[in-house]
């Protein structure tokens, strides 16, 4: 029996405002506990909320970026529940009239295929504080620095059909919010948090199965693993004659399994009602037009442009366009070096490897775009073989200067002088008569041995294409 997984994601994105959604407290991460909580954040009697205009603008930016309907009148509601890190006893959120309505996001898979995923809505709400259970024996600490931080909750339609697609969706979302600059999207700090609604059904079925909601998954990798493991749990359960129950589950990364949260924790009646301390937020077309004018070139448009302008493949264009800074870096390299193919390869392969190894962002790259372009220019004018270029690049990463300085200092200029290469070949052939005889007897595999020997003799500096041609000619009998 073949099963299909049905996934919908609810993603909480922390908006990169300077102050909180309804108060002037700072949202900076990592301050000493409770130093960024004012009288409103502490829910002192008599305090009132005032909406952060920057948060509204960011929500509208997101809505425009996914082609969504923007709510001209959006309404905040109170979601009531008791918890020590929820100071007011209610979370101010949006229920019936969110700022962002229906929109869509196109995901790109590794094979270059694409799919458009519907987004149901995105609404603004305030974050809760943090409960610290481990630091205090026999007690729970409450840190309200995060309480009131603006969140945008982005809800997808249940249109994703695999864990990999879910990750592709998240990556696309991440790309979009960082492009817009509305969030740093840092999952490790909770700036982007994901809940996954997962159900399974037989392929061809039209009804959805009963779903489980997996809460608060904090990395792309764990999202993939959590969905896979819970889908399998559901399949096993059904195949053994059981039934999936609708419940909230937590993913345990150490054990790679999901477990049910106690029903008591989730059996809340939130008693939503419109927040009477805030008036409905009314915006007009002029406001929307003004926000639209601030939108940068978005990932899909940029990827298409990179394909047409630089002749890149769909895959390369999408990888480079996924991050705004990477795309800008690539374009600078490609334009300065006047070679898009080399630029794409160096940025996506060599530079990316260095960044990954050292956990750096492109903005923190030890090699600037201008410097990388300088290296590529030396490859193009045959000063460097691609092999030597890698040595020079390593030296650039190590901070030894630009390509020309390193070439000069190490004497790494490529040997392209035909006469000099012929002398090297002659030496190698003279030193290896057995192999020469083998080659001439028809064992053509020995040819690569000669290439290696010549390159070694030149300390890697001989132009490989020239070595190839000249060696062939020599062995052919001259």
């Amino acid at each position: 029996m073949t099963w299909e997984t049905v996934i919908g994601l609810e993603v909480h994105v922390q908006l990169a405002t300077h102050s909180k959604l309804f108060s002037g407290s700072s949202t900076r991460f990592g301050a000493a506990p409770n130093t960024q909580a004012n009288v409103y954040d502490l829910a002192l009697p008599g305090t009132l909320p005032v909406l952060n205009a920057e948060a509204l603008r960011m929500a509208v930016q997101f809505g425009l970026a996914i082609g969504a309907e923007i709510g001209l009148t959006s309404v905040f509601d109170r979601k009531n529940y008791f918890y020590p890190d929820l100071p007011k006893g209610y979370q101010t959120s949006q229920l019936a009239h969110p700022t962002v309505g229906k929109g869509a996001l196109t995901i790109t898979r590794d094979d270059g295929s694409t799919q458009t995923i519907g987004i149901t809505r995105a609404h603004m709400e305030e974050d809760a504080g943090k409960s610290l259970h481990e630091e205090f024996p026999h007690a729970t600490g409450i840190d309200l620095n995060r309480a009131g931080t603006p969140l945008l909750e982005i809800v997808s339609e249940p249109e994703l059909r695999s864990a990999k697609d879910a990750v592709a969706y998240l990556k696309k979302l991440h790309s979009l919010i960082t492009y817009l600059g509305i969030s740093d999207g840092d999952m490790s700090q909770g700036s982007m948090r994901c809940d996954a609604n997962v159900s399974v059904r037989k392929v061809g079925a039209t009804e959805f199965g009963t779903r489980a909601e997996i809460k608060n998954i904090n990395s792309f990798r764990f999202v993939e693993k959590a969905i896979l493991v819970d889908a399998q749990r559901q399949i096993d359960l059904i195949e053994e004659g059981g039934k999936v129950v609708q419940e909230t589950r937590l993913y345990d990364a150490d054990k790679n399994q999901t477990r049910s949260m106690r029903s008591k924790e989730v059996a809340n009646d939130y008693r939503y009602f419109p927040e009477p301390d805030l008036l409905p937020v009314v915006i007009d077309d002029a406001y929307i037009a003004a926000v639209r004018a601030t939108l940068p070139e978005l990932p899909d448009v940029k990827a298409a442009r990179l394909q047409s302008q630089y002749g890149l493949s769909v895959y390369d264009a999408n990888v480079l366009a996924s991050e705004r800074a990477t795309a800008a870096y690539f374009e600078e390299v490609a334009q300065t070096a006047r070679d898009a193919k080399l630029a794409a390869n160096w940025v996506m392969v060599d530079l990316q490897a260095v960044l990954n190894k050292n956990a750096l962002t492109i903005a923190q790259s030890p090699v600037s775009a201008a410097a990388l372009a300088g290296l590529i220019l030396r490859i193009k004018d045959n000063t460097l073989s691609s092999k030597i270029a890698k040595t020079v690049f390593e030296a650039m990463v190590a901070g030894e200067g630009n390509a020309d300085a390193i070439i000069a200092a190490k004497g790494l200029t490529q040997v392209t002088d035909t006469h000099a290469i012929e002398q090297l070949i002659d030496t190698v052939l003279a030193n290896n008569p057995t192999q020469v005889a083998q080659y001439r007897a028809g064992q053509e595999k020995v040819f690569t041995f000669f290439i290696g020997q010549v390159m070694k003799e030149s300390k890697g500096k001989a132009n490989p294409a020239q070595v190839n041609d000249l060696l062939k000619a020599k062995l052919a009998g001259n």
Partner: protein
């Protein structure tokens, strides 16, 4: 005794300075008849001597008051002369006052020292007013008799066996007994107008959005609005001038210009059209009260006004709608009192749930708990549309009734309450009887309109109030109408037995 007036203390030369209205005080301070410090001392002495019997104050801030009075006198010495400078007042104990206990009449906040000022407090402080103390009130402003206070009931200065009305009962009793010249109050369903009526005062509830709610502890956010309890309309105008205006800290405060209220008082009433809602002159209204109200209306006719019958056909629904909307909002507004960060916390909680349950059970009184439960029920899954949703629709119908009526008339008048002040303990057993106290006032809150109650007669020696309701932000007209009546009548000058006017 041969007292030399030239050397005697001002308290003796002016034994009745605590009887002055705000307007009279402003003149006296300006003329140098007495200083703010002298006046403040006189009030503090009077509170010490007579305050206990009425239980009107929860906290008297004597030291702070004298320091404010000294500062006001110093400002005056430098040439300042605005009308509120150096004038004492009392604040209902739900306006947060920095460094002073702000209890909201609740055990929950018995030890709560507010770390910040309500906008109303800050504005009046800045104008140079002197805060004598914080007045008693029904817990979290829930009540119509001031019997629901953790600090005990307040007594009516006209008869200590009677209630002063509520929830601003402490403010009303304090002004009526001249324990302060004027006081702030708040009005969610009648909590300024009904005590004004019971205590023979002029009370004003502003239009929703006219006065900032920042720092005014919430009962029902969409209905709560600050107001004034005063000896007359002119005093109301002066204090309202100091309280009104847009506040960026309150998203529901209105960006509507504040007129000069005192200047508007003197306009003649020739041509004024007064609407009388037939529903407010119907069953439930005592005959004696009706007679007094009709007599007062005759005064307006003599002043050139025309009486027009109007209808507010949905007014019979206002109590039902109010007792869904207000408790619903209260149930959420009061969730913050959880024993975690401040306020009352039970002894030795076993776990989190025990902390919540016992802190709230022990910290809140019965009426507060009743309304939290009603509100929680009304918002519950499956009941929301039937209760909260429907109540909001009724609210719109009530607003529409007023809008229609105001197409024909300039103000609407009627009795503030169905009867006079009732005996302490007489209505505490039956919440619904108590709720009916606000039958004429509640619709005004649901519609967000400004309303006043002015003394308009007496029944068996007890004051009764005439309610005046105006269009949105038309406080100036209400004050004008009230002032002109007070120029032609003397009900507002009557004082409780033993209190000289």
């Amino acid at each position: 005794m041969n007292l030399n007036p030239g050397t005697a203390s001002p308290n003796i030369t002016n034994p009745n300075i605590t009887n002055h209205s705000l307007s009279a005080i402003a003149r006296a301070l300006k003329n140098g008849d007495y200083s703010s410090v002298e006046l403040t001392r006189a009030y503090l002495d009077r509170i010490a001597a007579h305050g206990g019997a009425l239980n009107a104050y929860i906290t008297v801030t004597a030291e702070r008051a004298l320091a404010q009075a000294e500062a006001a006198d110093a400002r005056r010495a430098k040439g300042e002369s605005q009308p509120l400078l150096g004038v004492p007042l009392a604040h209902k104990d739900l306006f947060c006052t920095a460094g002073v206990r702000t209890s909201c009449g609740s055990r929950m906040l018995d030890k709560f020292i507010a770390p910040y000022d309500a906008t109303v407090v800050a504005k009046l402080d800045a104008a140079g007013m002197v805060t004598l103390g914080k007045t008693n009130m029904d817990e979290f402003a829930m009540g119509s008799s001031n019997e629901n206070s953790w600090y005990g009931a307040v007594r009516n200065p006209w008869n200590h066996a009677l209630v002063p009305g509520g929830s601003s009962g402490g403010s009303a009793a304090a002004v009526a007994a001249r324990l302060c010249p004027i006081a702030t109050g708040t009005d969610t369903g009648g909590s300024v107008r009904q005590p004004a009526s019971f205590c023979g005062l002029t009370g004003l509830k502003a239009t929703y959005g006219r006065i900032s709610r920042w720092g005014m502890i919430a009962y029902a956010s969409s209905l709560d609005q600050a107001g004034v309890l005063a000896q007359n309309a002119a005093d109301c105008a002066l204090l309202l001038q100091g309280m009104a205006g847009f506040d960026p800290k309150d998203s529901t405060s209105a960006q509507v210009a504040v007129p000069d209220y005192a200047a508007a008082l003197h306009q003649p009433l020739q041509g004024l059209r007064i609407g009388l809602p037939k529903e407010h002159f119907a069953e439930g209204l005592s005959l004696e009260v009706e007679q007094q109200i009709r007599a007062a209306l005759a005064v307006f006719e003599r002043l050139g006004a025309t009486l027009v019958e109007v209808s507010l056909p949905n007014s019979h629904l206002s109590i039902c709608a109010y007792y869904v909307i207000a408790p619903a909002e209260a149930s959420a507004n009061l969730s913050r009192y959880d024993g975690v960060r401040y306020g009352y916390r039970c002894e030795r909680p076993k776990d989190l749930e025990d902390l919540y349950k016992r802190s709230r059970s022990e910290g809140f009184g019965n009426e507060v708990k009743r309304r939290i439960m009603v509100g929680t029920y009304a918002l519950s899954a499956g009941y929301y549309e039937a209760y909260y949703g429907k109540a909001q629709k009724v609210r719109r119908l009530i607003k529409d009734d007023f809008t229609r009526a105001f197409q024909e008339v300039d103000v609407i008048m009627g009795p503030t309450t169905p009867g006079t002040a009732f005996a302490l303990g007489s209505k505490t057993k039956d919440p619904v009887t108590m709720y009916l106290e606000d039958i004429y006032t509640i619709a005004v809150n649901l519609a967000g309109l400004p309303g006043m109650s002015i003394p308009a007669g007496q029944v068996h020696g007890l004051p009764i109030g005439l309610q005046i309701v105006g269009r949105d932000f038309d406080e100036a007209r209400l004050l004008n109408v009230a002032h002109q009546f007070q120029q032609a009548s003397d009900w507002h000058t009557r004082t409780p037995p033993g209190v000289s006017g």
